[in-house]
């Protein structure tokens, strides 16, 4: 299957290992991965802060570029950015032409874990990792894309992993994009509940499907000199520790 990687801004600029890991895992499952270097932001920061006309510019650009790829599927290591692509149609309520193109692109755009489990039918990608691992449900993946069992199946498929369910795994980490910039004190207060649960879980790694939440979590863990590693699911699935 020919897959076009939608890598997302955060991964591109701040956590590239997530992108390379995703490519590795996809290739391992037999996919041909293509990457269009013209790709940019999907427009979510603009859309979520109310700048709809700017978001529209970026959405159109996204649609044009990913239509060009001629791929069977567009895959992204982010539930949040994937959800944004699924929201594109809202930007074109009065524009049938673009709305149809937006809907067609959304149909082919999959979040990484959902693509592996629901499209490829894979839950063992041949990864291995030693230790206890837990999972944080990133909000948009969970509530906009209904991802719940997919990442858990994949984690449980990793050899050497003992999966631990995180209490309140579905509670927000406090990131919320520009929310964490606008209201940093509230954001950190929310985050501290998450960090406390992670520490209590006694795990080697906390995983999630969004680099954004993971940066929020990792930032706090690092400053608290925690031994827990924040890892993207793609990184865990690319691991080979045996």
């Amino acid at each position: 299957m020919r897959v076009s990687l939608f890598v997302t801004c955060l991964v591109d600029q701040l956590w590239p290992e997530v992108g390379t890991s995703a490519v590795e895992v996809l290739r391992r499952t037999g996919c041909e991965v293509v990457f269009d270097e013209r790709q940019t932001c999907c427009g979510q920061p603009a859309f979520n802060t109310g700048y709809r006309s700017d978001a529209r510019v970026l959405a159109r650009r996204f649609i044009e570029i990913f239509e060009d790829a001629g791929a069977d599927a567009i895959v992204s290591p982010s539930g949040s950015c994937t959800a944004m692509v699924h929201h594109f149609h809202q930007l074109f309520e009065d524009d049938e032409h673009w709305r149809k193109r937006a809907e067609a692109i959304a149909q082919r755009t999959h979040e990484f874990s959902s693509f592996l489990v629901n499209v490829l039918g894979v839950d063992d990608v041949g990864a291995s990792f030693r230790g206890r691992v837990t999972w944080h449900d990133a909000c948009h993946g969970l509530r906009d894309l209904n991802l719940h069992s997919e990442p858990r199946r994949l984690i449980k498929g990793v050899r050497g992993v003992e999966f631990v369910e995180l209490p309140n795994a579905d509670a927000c980490c406090g990131f919320g994009g520009t929310f964490s910039v606008k209201y940093p004190e509230i954001s950190v207060a929310i985050l501290d509940n998450k960090i406390a649960e992670i520490e209590k879980a006694g795990v080697r790694a906390v995983t999630s499907g969004d680099a954004s939440c993971l940066m929020q979590i990792r930032g706090r863990l690092t400053r608290q000199k925690s031994g827990v590693r924040a890892m993207h699911l793609a990184e865990l699935l690319a691991s080979r520790e045996d």
């Binding site: 290739r27 700017d54 650009r61 909000c139 927000c172 929310i190």
Partner: protein
């Protein structure tokens, strides 16, 4: 006390985060009511189907609101009630004041009602020299403390038992006690006397049934039953969106509201009131006045996105589920309605210029949408209002930080359009060079 405003949400929130007593109380709320709700919704066969049904009923009403409200008014009057129409908060207050004056009422009891909070009825009555007594325990505590509710269902949730005990020592002259039963008994003793003396009782309305003109009010303390039956005159304030078509629709809403609001299968009391008492030997008031209030609701009705705000049944579940509310509590919002639904309704009620921060006071996690018994897409509404703040599509004044951010967003969009410059060159190298399988 000085009441906070929505305009200073950021500062209010910072102050709230530094209040350990408040944060303890809020943790309690999320753990108790939140968990009780989770269990309660498993006690009906198909919660999702009920939510769908409830929303469909609300959508049906909202698409023909004028007809349903009219039918409700006709049938309520047929049953002997008097219906009044209030365009806004001031109008509604005026009607209440006039009704009290005409009856030379000096003793007025009130049951808990967010609609009366919305129009600041108590302040309006006090300005006229009338002192209505709140009879819901939580509301009465707030009234004694000269505060405002911090939650739409549990108004005194921000106060500790100790604070309430000290308040009762000061205001009621009782001995200090940490026994809830003792405190409640003290409140009951004072309030029972007020009920006996009251000439008029003022209540809100949970649902107004169009086909019968019946109003339904839910509660747990019995104070609504007393407020609406003991005094000779009952005045009910009702937002026009509270109308539902048929009595059988209550079957759906009575399953949803107590479970969502307090995690109960049913509240202790359900008062169904249809007009006045029929004969002299019947119990109940001689006069029932229902004030149908718009106060910005028809404006919300106008747009298909904002219309769903009117489906709200004021259960408070979104407050309990919201990570932001859980941290900062209700007062920080500086509005009558706090939490996610408050962040949606307030800008529409008081003007977006005065509440421009509220739609941004959310991480957009969607927990509110997940628990809402009438499936209001609160994140969608927040995004809609954010666009209104930024792009000025509504009546609002722009966000203060607007111009700077505007430039940033334009820049991102522009550079992306030109040649994808908003991207570091590093990744393509990494991806292309990465793993060969």
């Amino acid at each position: 006390m000085d009441h906070l405003t929505s305009e200073t949400f950021d500062q209010n929130a910072r102050d709230a985060l530094r209040d350990p007593q408040l944060r303890g109380a809020l943790r309690n709320l999320a753990n108790t009511i939140g968990d009780r709700r989770k269990f309660a919704i498993t006690t009906v066969d198909d919660w999702e189907a009920l939510r769908e049904q409830a929303r469909a009923i609300k959508d049906q009403v909202l698409s023909h609101l004028d007809e349903y409200v009219e039918a409700f008014a006709v049938n309520a009057e047929r049953a002997g009630a008097t219906v009044h129409w209030a365009h806004d908060a001031a109008g509604a207050c005026e009607i209440v004041i006039r009704l009290l004056r005409e009856r030379s009422a000096t003793q007025v009891v009130k049951s808990k009602s967010m609609a009366t909070e919305e129009i600041h009825l108590n302040a309006a009555l006090e300005a006229e020299g009338l002192s209505p007594i709140e009879t819901d325990l939580g509301e009465w505590i707030i009234q004694l403390a000269r505060e405002t509710p911090s939650h739409i269902v549990v108004p005194a949730i921000h106060k500790s038992k100790k604070q309430i005990a000290e308040l009762f020592v000061e205001k009621l002259g009782i001995e200090l006690s940490d026994d809830v039963a003792v405190l409640t008994r003290a409140a009951r003793r004072v309030l029972r006397q007020r009920f006996v003396e009251a000439q008029v009782g003022i209540s809100g309305v949970n649902f107004g049934v169009a086909e019968t003109g019946t109003i339904l009010i839910l509660e747990n303390e019995g104070n609504v039953r007393l407020t609406t039956s003991l005094p000779r005159t009952h005045i009910a304030l009702m937002g026009i969106e509270k109308v539902i078509p048929r009595l059988v629709d209550l079957d759906v809403f009575l399953k949803l509201l107590p479970r969502s609001g307090t995690g109960q299968r049913l509240t202790a009391y359900q008062s169904l009131i249809t007009g006045v008492k029929r004969s002299a030997t019947d119990e109940g008031p001689e006069e029932v006045h229902i004030i149908l209030m718009d106060n910005g609701r028809s404006r919300m009705l106008a747009h298909p996105v904002t219309r769903q705000s009117l489906a709200c049944i004021r259960c408070g579940a979104c407050l309990n589920a919201c990570p932001v509310y859980q941290q900062v509590g209700g007062h920080a919002y500086g509005s009558v309605y706090p939490g996610p639904i408050g962040a949606v309704i307030t800008p529409q009620l008081i003007g977006i210029g005065k509440a421009a921060q509220l739609p941004f006071a959310s991480s957009l996690c969607g927990a509110c949408r997940e628990v809402c018994p009438v499936k209001i897409d609160i994140p969608e509404l927040l995004l809609h209002l954010r666009a209104e703040v930024v792009e000025g599509t509504g009546s609002g004044t722009a966000d203060q930080k607007g111009p700077v951010k505007r430039k940033l967003m334009e820049r991102i969009a522009f550079e992306a359009k030109v040649d994808g410059a908003y991207r570091l060159p590093s990744l393509r190298v990494r991806v292309v060079q990465s793993s060969s399988v």
